[in-house]
């Protein structure tokens, strides 16, 4: 029995001829990303239908709860209303992340199981952090910040600055990829186990039944509670939390 884990499938390749960027790949990552976006946007539209000021529906209550939670999350972690403009961004980041992570439950490949996705998010966050640092202490102050506490520390400071987005991206990616790998292993292992178990049956019945991976039904669901549900929600939360913390810290100078 061979078991291999590959990256996202490439459905279509659009040659662009641009040297470094290479071909545009319509991969599973992008397609599922669009599905995720459609789900989130559809949910938003569904939740905010028929908004009323009084006598609200359960749907509206849920929508209001989401908005209030996002508002409170950002305001509590930045201490004030300074970053209210960031709330939709934080919400989009968290929403995309968690739906992307959990979409593996329906058998699609998570867009977050592709490092390109997390790298994209981390770069956006990194640019925001840097922009806030420059805004807080000026460009000179930002550069000067690398030489603290002593000049010798400059390379390490630069390294730690660059490490921020890399660690954020890799942490998220690693957790989701590990879930994908372990789920793949479990499915494969259970298929082997069930074929071995049913192969014990005599004759043609055993030969036919051993092709059906009967153990793959149900058992992986238990493990997916951790690897998909817990890990997925946790990584989305951690990524969002780190984003808001880094940006708040950066703005303090």
């Amino acid at each position: 029995m061979n078991f291999d884990i590959s990256g996202a499938k490439i459905f279509f390749r659009i040659p662009t001829g641009i040297p470094i960027l290479g071909d545009f790949l319509i991969s599973e990552t992008l397609v599922v990303s669009w599905i995720v976006m459609a789900i989130i946007t559809g949910l938003c539209i569904f939740l905010t239908r028929n908004l009323k000021v009084e006598n609200i529906t359960k749907r509206q209550a849920v929508a209001e709860m989401i908005v209030e939670t996002a508002n409170n999350f950002v305001r509590n972690n930045t201490g004030g209303n300074k970053f209210d403009k960031l709330i939709p961004f934080i919400a989009a980041l968290f929403g995309t992340s968690i739906v992307s992570n959990l979409i593996s439950l329906v058998g699609l490949r998570s867009p977050t199981a592709d490092l390109s996705t997390e790298a994209a998010w981390a770069i956006v966050v990194f640019i925001m952090i840097t922009a806030n640092k420059i805004k807080a202490s000026g460009f000179g102050g930002y550069l000067k910040g690398f030489t603290t506490p002593i000049f010798i520390m400059t390379p390490f400071n630069i390294l730690s600055e660059i490490a921020t987005p890399i660690s954020m991206a890799c942490r998220h990616f690693g957790n989701i990829l590990s879930g994908v790998v372990i789920n793949g292993l479990i499915y494969a292992a259970l298929a082997v186990a069930s074929s071995a178990l049913l192969g014990l049956l005599p004759g043609a019945v055993g030969r036919v039944l051993s092709q059906v991976p009967i153990l793959d039904v149900g058992v992986p669901a238990i493990l997916s509670v951790y690897f998909d549900w817990f890990s997925g929600a946790m990584q989305a939360f951690i990524f969002t939390m780190l984003t808001i913390m880094y940006i708040a810290n950066a703005a303090e100078g």
Binding site: I5, S6, G7, A8, K9, I10, F11, R13, T16, I20, L21, G22, D23, F24, L25, S27, T29, L30, S33, W34, M37, I40, T41, C44, I45, L47, T48, L51, K52, V53, E54, Q60, A63, E64, I66, V67, E68, A70, I87, P88, F89, A91, A92, L93, G95, T96, P111, D114, L115, S116, T117, A119, A120, W121, I123, V124, F173, L177
Partner: protein, 167 residues
Amino acid sequence: METQALVTLVPWTFIAQILNLFIQMYLIKRFLFKPINEVLEKRRALADKEIKDARSAKEEADGLKVQYETSIADAREEAAAIVSSAQKEAQARADELVKSAQAQVAGIKAKAEADIAQERKKAINEVKDEIGGLAMDIAGKVVEKEIHEDDHRKLIDEFIKNVGEAS
């Protein structure tokens, strides 16, 4: 089917995901935050308005209460004034009545006294005449001579007068 490497950075996917993130941000802002924040703001405005309305209604009620109380107090004062003036008037009228009754009584009394005095005078005069006649008769009988009444009138009167004073 062709697959990409397990751990790799595809430049175009990377760019597309950045764009996706911002598109998603816009969509969430447009379809979730904007309408919900509007509703929340509306509700807040409504609550504020209701509080303001209640406050102004209370102020109005307080004003009305004060007005009402003053008008009640005015009415009470007025009623007291009316009652006291009525009392005064009644008292005055009663006093007047008593006074006029007293005056009437005094008049009746004075008239009665005058009548009495007149009657008395009349009676005295009658008695005087009678006594005068009698005296003349007696004297005539005593002197056996008729006393001419006219001649001796003066004498008689003096006599009667003396009698009257003595009586």
